[in-house]
């Protein structure tokens, strides 16, 4: 019950924050960017200094504080892309399309960072940088899928066709999101199952949460900025050609 309440409040705060950053003045985005920087620097202190090493892994376990937040942000972004894609097809509007584009790129960015960090963490712990286990494979598929999604958006010149077909693709590739999440439960894998506060030392949980908030602040700044870039593009495309505009004046 409290869990559900927490989720609802969290989604509302993140959604409201994103809305405010998109609609508000540039100074708000700058403010959140500064906040993100402060959180990131202090998060690095929590992760690198304050948190204890792990008794099995030693200091390499500290990679968790950047790997896990990066992957969370990636999954949040691609989930948002799915929601925008569905919403667009039912009730089309340019902001939905722009947010879909922004979330796909931000998701791809965080996913790629998370994958590389996981690979670095894998070498000393698993013994290998890479193995085709279900979690790693489904994550790789996600990155390829969203890279393809963004390529598709570049190839379609007509703005409305681009919006419609990328929404269709956005819905279909979103199948991979639950697969990534559940891969470690459904199938045998090298990657361990999700941790929870009960399986992680409180000091480590604090460091992880702190860094997750730092990444969330960055996520909001990146997403809102990228959204405005996408909006500006469609607005340019929708504007009447210069000749007509001149004739009208």
């Amino acid at each position: 019950m409290t869990h559900a309440l927490f989720t609802v409040v969290g989604v509302a705060v993140v959604g409201g924050g994103l809305y405010a950053l998109v609609r508000g003045p540039a100074s708000w985005r700058a403010g959140v960017a500064v906040l993100a920087l402060v959180l990131l620097v202090s998060g690095a202190w929590y992760g690198l200094v304050q948190a204890p090493p792990d008794r099995e892994m030693g200091n390499v376990q500290r990679i968790m504080y950047v790997h896990v937040p990066a992957q969370w942000m990636a999954l949040m972004a691609v989930t948002l892309n799915f929601l925008c894609s569905v919403a667009y097809l039912f009730r089309p509007s340019w902001p939905k399309d722009a947010l879909a584009e922004a979330s796909a790129e931000v998701g791809l960015f965080f996913g790629a960072v998370g994958l590389v960090l996981g690979s670095i963490w894998g070498k000393p712990t698993w013994g290998v940088y890479w193995s085709w286990d279900p979690r790693l494979t489904s994550e790789a598929i996600l990155l390829v899928a969203y890279a393809g999604y963004l390529a598709l958006r570049r190839f379609i010149d007509d703005a409305e066709r681009r919006a419609v077909w990328s929404a269709v693709v956005g819905i279909i590739i979103a199948v991979d999101i639950p697969i990534i999440w559940f891969s470690v439960r459904w199938w045998r894998s090298l990657h361990q199952m999700q941790s929870s506060p009960s399986t992680v030392d409180p000091d480590m949980v604090r460091a992880l949460r702190w860094n997750a908030f730092a990444f969330l602040a960055l996520w909001l700044v990146f997403l809102s900025t990228r959204y405005l870039i996408a909006r500006a593009r469609t607005e340019r495309e929708m504007a009447p050609p210069p000749m007509v505009a001149e004739a009208a004046t």
Partner: protein, 158 residues
């Protein structure tokens, strides 16, 4: 210019996505695409398991880790679980094991099995549990210098 509504596309895409997810989640994909075999499964397969490059996953049996005299070849037994009677397979590896390698920890080895009942591997991977704890008082940097079986990690054969 108003944007066209394309509800049918949304419905079609959602149906495709939902169907694909249901197929993957509820289908029998797991048994056809296993990441690793357990020792019991591999031994049950008998001669069918010989020769092909496969992955074997389980836990390192207590008291079975040994290096050869030149310290280049490592042998140990991979068992289904930590019970002394669990089915197990002798594994021979020439790879450098990762730091967490020790008795009782979950491992996945890649290589081939043959008539001699030895699994020859060229890729040794250790799998970690989802637990993260600081060293207990007095343990120091235990991750640097122990191969004892007091571990919080284990494989999860399903």
């Amino acid at each position: 210019m108003a944007l066209k509504r394309t509800t049918w596309l949304a419905v079609a895409a959602l149906l495709i996505a939902g169907g694909a997810l249901a197929f993957i989640a509820l289908g029998d994909l797991g048994s056809n695409l296993v990441y690793y075999w357990t020792p019991a499964e591999m031994l049950d397969a008998g001669s069918k398991a010989y020769g092909a490059t496969i992955r074997l996953g389980g836990v390192v049996q207590r008291g079975t880790i040994a290096w050869d005299s030149g310290h280049t070849e490592l042998t140990f037994r991979v068992a289904n679980d930590m019970t002394p009677t669990a089915k197990n397979v002798l594994v021979r590896v020439r790879e450098t094991p990762p730091q967490m390698f020790r008795e009782g920890i979950g491992v996945v080895v890649e290589g081939t099995f043959d008539k001699s009942q030895v699994f020859t591997s060229n890729r040794l991977m250790v799998n970690h549990s989802n637990e993260y704890r600081p060293p207990k008082p007095g343990e120091g940097d235990r991750w640097k210098n122990t191969l004892s079986s007091d571990t919080t990690s284990s494989a999860r054969p399903k």
